[in-house]
């Protein structure tokens, strides 16, 4: 496989782009692997990549029921940030953000990470107090955060409505926040993992588990049985479905989260904006589309489409913030099925079945966590012990009561 460089681009350009080879091999799964990762989203692919690159495990397969990146990883609005509240969360998400910062180079794949900053607004006195508290908490926890008065926010974000229905009294800016190209994150990890020998098997659905005396021995798939003593489960909204096949339940509810994009426009918005009053958030893609997300459709769902009232509410929120977008046409709208847990904190680590490890509970915010989630799960699978950053995210916290209740604190909308 060719390494991407200015030289290889030039050379391929001169020969009419006909010299490129596929970024990863296609093939049939073998009968046995040292480790199998279920789910070819960002988390599954990153886990496989770090198993190979950091722990020297080469004998790994990623099994994906559809195509890699076809789940939430390819459906999300790509906001990367670490503006959480509790030390455990900020530490983890900031670690993930810092991995993102070096990822294009590490993977030799341009993931188009754009550190354009992210704003969260406050619309009333209590919101302002909470925002100040968030800024202080983030700083104490070592993340970057700036507090700005409303007038300053308006000055810094051209086009923002000076008199919206919910006034903008203040803003929290995380300058290191930003966006990345979602597909590129999946493809970049896939290509880098493939180069280290990982088999990436698409169109391979895991339909069951082989479990002997509480320990995993393999998985059943649409392409036959595969033996493996270590299995990672990274299937986002389908975690409960898979857990049931392995004989246990999870503290997860699956919801549809939708997003939409406008037709492409000239650059008008150079940052990411979140307005908690309406739950609307937006950014502009490099292609020029305004990418808009909103709140969850608040009833359990496994249908990858959104409901109209939430779309309407989100669009109204968008126009309240940026009235001049009112005549912009929407091109596409879609949804992904997200795995929401009670405390909006991920689940990473052991499951009730020995050898079966969990990576789930990311809910509406796991894109930013892909490098960190993959890194920590790989560590756990390879060494049998939780990576210190991920230790607080064990499934056991629901029994011990050590929840990390980010729902109220981090400004995530649900």
């Amino acid at each position: 496989m060719t390494r991407y460089s200015a030289w290889s681009l030039l050379r391929a350009g001169l020969s009419g782009q006909r010299t490129w080879t596929p970024a990863w091999r296609e093939g049939k799964p073998r009968k046995r692997y040292q480790a199998v990762i279920i789910g070819g989203g960002g988390h599954g692919l990153a886990t496989a990549y770090y198993l190979a690159s950091k722990h020297g495990m080469k004998d790994i397969a990623v099994l994906e029921r559809g195509w890699i990146g076809g789940g939430n990883t390819g459906r999300n609005t790509t906001v990367i940030r670490s503006n959480y509240f509790f030390p455990e969360s900020t530490r983890f998400y900031d670690f993930s953000l810092s991995l993102y910062e070096g990822l294009s180079r590490e993977l030799n794949y341009n993931i188009m990470f754009s550190r354009r900053g992210m704003w969260t607004f406050a619309h009333d006195r209590h919101g302002v107090e909470m925002l100040r508290r968030s800024v202080n908490a983030m700083r104490l926890n070592g993340a970057d955060a700036e507090y700005h008065e409303g007038a300053d926010v308006l000055r810094r974000i051209p086009g923002l409505n000076p008199t919206p229905r919910f006034p903008i009294l203040a803003g929290l800016l995380q300058p290191r926040g930003g966006t990345a190209r979602h597909d590129a994150v999946a493809w970049g990890y896939a290509r880098a993992a493939d180069r280290l020998g990982v088999d990436i098997i698409q169109n391979c659905e895991v339909t069951g588990f082989d479990i002997r005396e509480g320990r995993i021995t393999g998985v059943q798939t649409s392409l036959g049985d595969i033996a493996a003593e270590r299995v990672g489960l990274a299937v986002a909204g389908h975690s409960s479905v898979m857990a049931k096949r392995a004989g246990f339940r999870l503290p997860i509810v699956s919801y549809a989260l939708q997003a939409f994009v406008s037709e492409p426009m000239k650059p008008v918005l150079d940052t990411v904006v979140l307005a908690p009053s309406t739950g609307t958030y937006l950014s502009q893609s490099d292609k020029g589309e305004i990418v808009v997300g909103g709140t969850l459709d608040l009833f359990p769902s496994y249908a990858q489409r959104g409901s109209l009232p939430v779309l309407e509410h989100t669009a109204a929120g968008l126009i309240d913030l940026f009235p001049h977008f009112s005549r912009v046409r929407l091109l596409r709208q879609w949804a992904g099925i997200v795995d929401v847990v009670h405390d909006s904190t991920p689940i990473l680590g052991e499951s009730p079945v020995k050898g079966l490890y969990l990576n789930c509970g990311w809910g509406t915010g796991g894109f930013k966590a892909i490098p960190g989630g993959g890194f920590c799960l790989a560590h756990h699978i390879a060494t049998g012990e939780a990576y210190p950053l991920a230790a607080p995210f064990s499934l056991d916290r629901f029994r011990t009561g050590a929840l990390i209740d980010e729902a109220a604190a981090s400004g995530i909308a649900h």
Binding site: S240, R249, I252, L298, P300, P309, R399
Partner: protein, 95 residues
Amino acid sequence: MLLIDCPWCGPRAESEFRCGGESPIVRPAAPASTDDTAWADYMFYRDNVKGLGFERWHHRFGCGLWFNVARDTVSHRILAVYGMTDPRPVLESEA
């Protein structure tokens, strides 16, 4: 958009309602002798089914009634609406 048949008001738009999650979830009968695992199970663990699910809904911006709904979580088709304390109906698709 779901069209939900409130037992009191009749068919109304989804936006008038709020989903109250899975049903029935039964609170442990003897709290003092319930261990942490059973409490966690009651509080947080859910079937979260793909397909036919049973859940509570609240006609929040309407009559205020709570009731049960049998709904397919993939097609979103509502198969039955029944009272809060009524037993779960046996549906054709289950038979």
